[in-house]
């Protein structure tokens, strides 16, 4: 597996502002993913970020609201723009790696807990 870190671990923000979340991996990975997890619910994929190409967004998520950068094979950022209380959630970074050298699987970072007031 990989060591995945996220910054910040949590934040409280005012509506209308933006927050950029960083994801750092200790090894080079091709596929990185950003998820949202609302309280008490399952995970929803926001977008897939491959190095050197534009991020691919899932239905219901747009680049203007959630711009993503992927400058190299170990780092990505997700910005939550013009925040509203409905954006209060856990945001998770995930990478795809070989599991015990057999299959590629997804590993998750610790998450960023965002509260928008």
């Amino acid at each position: 597996s990989a060591v995945i870190s996220q910054k910040p671990s949590r934040d409280i923000c005012q509506r209308g502002t933006s927050l950029t979340i960083q994801c750092q991996v200790d090894s080079q990975v091709t596929m990185m993913f950003w998820y949202r997890q609302q309280p008490g619910q399952s995970l929803t994929l926001i977008a897939t970020a491959n190095q050197g190409s534009e991020a691919t967004y899932e239905s219901g998520f747009v680049i203007d609201k959630f711009p993503i950068s992927r400058p190299n094979l170990t780092f990505s950022t997700l910005t939550v723009s013009n925040m509203s209380p409905e954006d209060s959630s856990i945001y998770l970074c995930s990478v795809e790696l070989y599991s015990s050298g057999i299959w590629e699987t997804q590993y998750f970072g610790p998450g960023t807990r965002l509260l928008v007031l």
Partner: protein, 111 residues
């Protein structure tokens, strides 16, 4: 389609007993399945995975069973411990499509 839970089913087991957490998946074309454990305040932690050409895979204290006929996946935890208390998610994937998560099950272990 997406599987997003509106409530979280709960399984309560006594410490030392075996736990069985079930998951019904939606896509008959799914060929890869993963179980994750998510403790409070943490990200999902990979537990075990299985491919569709297998019906059973064992790890340390955990076993995953796959029944493709009825699209059912289960996670068995032997000798459940207090540290096993968490929310468990199953996830399915078809080829290079995105990972689809189940609704999650909360496991509570009592002494």
């Amino acid at each position: 389609g997406e599987s997003v839970g509106l409530h979280l089913p709960t399984l309560s087991v006594q410490e030392g007993d075996n736990s069985i957490i079930n998951c019904a998946y939606s896509n008959s074309a799914s060929d890869y399945f993963i179980w994750y454990k998510q403790e409070s305040g943490k990200g999902p932690q990979f537990i075990i995975d299985i491919r569709s050409n297998m019906d059973k895979r064992q790890g340390q204290r955990v076993t995953v069973l796959l029944n493709k006929t009825v699209k059912h996946l289960s996670l068995q935890i032997a000798a459940t411990q207090p540290g096993d208390s968490a929310v468990y998610f199953c996830a399915e994937k078809s080829g290079t499509d995105k990972l689809i998560f189940g609704t999650g099950t909360r496991l509570q272990v009592f002494p």
